[in-house]
């Protein structure tokens, strides 16, 4: 090893890497032990068939050439996700733009007839009302926008357009269906507002609510916030 190589090794020892997350503890629940071998039953056949369908869907999500066909339309309750070759025109706006009228939690409960979910540490709780949508800025670092609404009769109250460089991944949040949208920006349409670009988004449903978290955050961070909501 020459002097330059020794200097590089020395430099490597002094570099400030971000702290390593404790993946082992976090992932523990995702490594279920395989089920004991048993006879092939109708129920087992059904489970396997469903798993094959899920795997095929997951594979299709992962292969760009198949995205357009499968994700032409996709629905999560109250939200339509559409895969398009070219994104429609939209504007860049901040997370806090056009959130609606500031409202207290009591006013929100009276107006939309549900108790909005928030992270346990989110105080003071400042909400914004726009039609059926309740929004709040969650003061994590970086701050993220949490929006929620109760599913009504309109199956596509919010629309999202994803370009080829965006990634959609099905996720489960506390056992309920959701999607993690990441990669390149997508365009979001909310009734009565001009379309805007959106960054990473976690969309999921809980009970009769549909929830959405948007911001500069990773999937892990988004899932942590989602699972903390009370």
């Amino acid at each position: 090893m020459n002097e330059l190589e020794r200097s590089l090794v020395s430099l490597g020892g002094e570099l400030a890497f971000p702290p390593t997350p404790d993946l082992a503890s976090r992932l523990g629940s995702r490594f279920p032990a395989p089920a004991p071998k048993r006879r092939w039953t109708t129920r087992r056949a059904l489970v396997v068939a469903l798993a094959v369908v899920a795997l095929a869907l997951a594979a299709a999500f992962a292969v760009p050439s198949a995205r357009t066909a499968i994700l032409r339309f996709f629905h999560l309750r109250g939200v339509t996700i559409e895969r398009v070759e070219t994104l429609p025109p939209a504007t860049e706006r901040s997370l806090t733009a056009d959130l609606g009228t500031p409202a207290s939690e009591a006013l929100v409960r009276r107006t939309v007839s549900f108790a909005p979910l928030v992270p346990p540490s989110a105080t003071p709780r400042q909400f914004y009302l726009r039609g059926d949508f309740v929004s709040t800025i969650v003061g994590t670092s970086p701050p993220v926008l949490l929006t929620q609404f109760r599913f009504g009769r309109d199956p596509g109250i919010m629309k999202k357009y994803m370009g080829p460089a965006s990634h959609v991944e099905p996720v489960l949040v506390d056992g309920e269906q959701g999607f993690w949208l990441s990669g390149a920006e997508h365009v979001v349409y909310i009734p009565s507002l001009p379309p805007r670009y959106a960054g990473n988004v976690l969309l999921w449903q809980r009970g009769d609510l549909t929830l959405r978290i948007e911001g500069r955050l990773s999937k892990s961070q988004a899932l942590r916030i989602a699972r903390s909501l009370r």
Partner: protein, 187 residues
């Protein structure tokens, strides 16, 4: 060269065999052993801490699913690093980002403690110049240098992580060092 994370081969083989039989705790031990190097490789490749966290996490899940096809007598680390780096690369491409080094040297201690022998090799100014020189390398050369010297990966592990042949690691390393020498001496 940085110390290599890992376990004695016999102990690691036992953990792999247990994990292959479905022992989730054994696999957790494997993850715990390699999570730091996996996260750092993902960070070097993706250039973003959040992406690196997601990539490493997803890679460990994929590795768990693929464990049945792994030969228990083979070293775990290069196999894991290949999966991790591949996941990080795919995410970076999906995001349309160029890989950047995104690293800075830690601030020098303000206390009275004597610097470590390694730290004493370089002054603050030298560290900055050398890091800038590495940062200025083409992406392929930069990643080889970072894997080999900053993370202390072997040639085999670097080849696995960057999905290139071992001979390519050697040639890229040699060219990168030549270029670094010229740049560093000029600066």
């Amino acid at each position: 060269m940085a110390a290599v994370e890992g376990r004695p081969p016999s102990e690691e083989r036992e953990l792999v065999l247990r994990a292959q039989r479905g022992d989730a705790r054994a696999y957790e031990e494997i993850v715990r052993t390699y999570q730091t190097i996996a996260f750092r490789v993902a960070y070097l490749v993706s250039g973003d801490a959040s992406e690196a966290e997601d990539a490493a996490q997803e890679a460990f899940v994929k590795a768990w699913r693929a464990l049945g096809r792994f030969r228990p007598d083979a070293p775990v680390r290069p196999w894991l690093l290949r999966i991790v780096a591949n996941e990080a690369r795919n995410r970076r491409r999906a995001a349309g980002r160029r890989a950047q080094l995104a690293l800075r040297a830690e601030q020098e201690s303000s206390g009275d403690a004597a610097p470590s022998p390694e730290a004493a090799l370089l002054t603050g100014d030298e560290r900055r110049r050398l890091l800038d020189a590495v940062d200025g390398l083409p992406e392929q050369a930069r990643l080889v240098v970072a894997c080999r010297y900053f993370l202390g990966l072997s040639e085999e592990e670097t080849a696995a992580a960057l999905d290139i042949r071992r001979g390519t690691v050697k040639s890229r390393t040699a060219r990168a060092l030549e270029r670094l020498q010229e740049t560093y001496e000029r600066a």
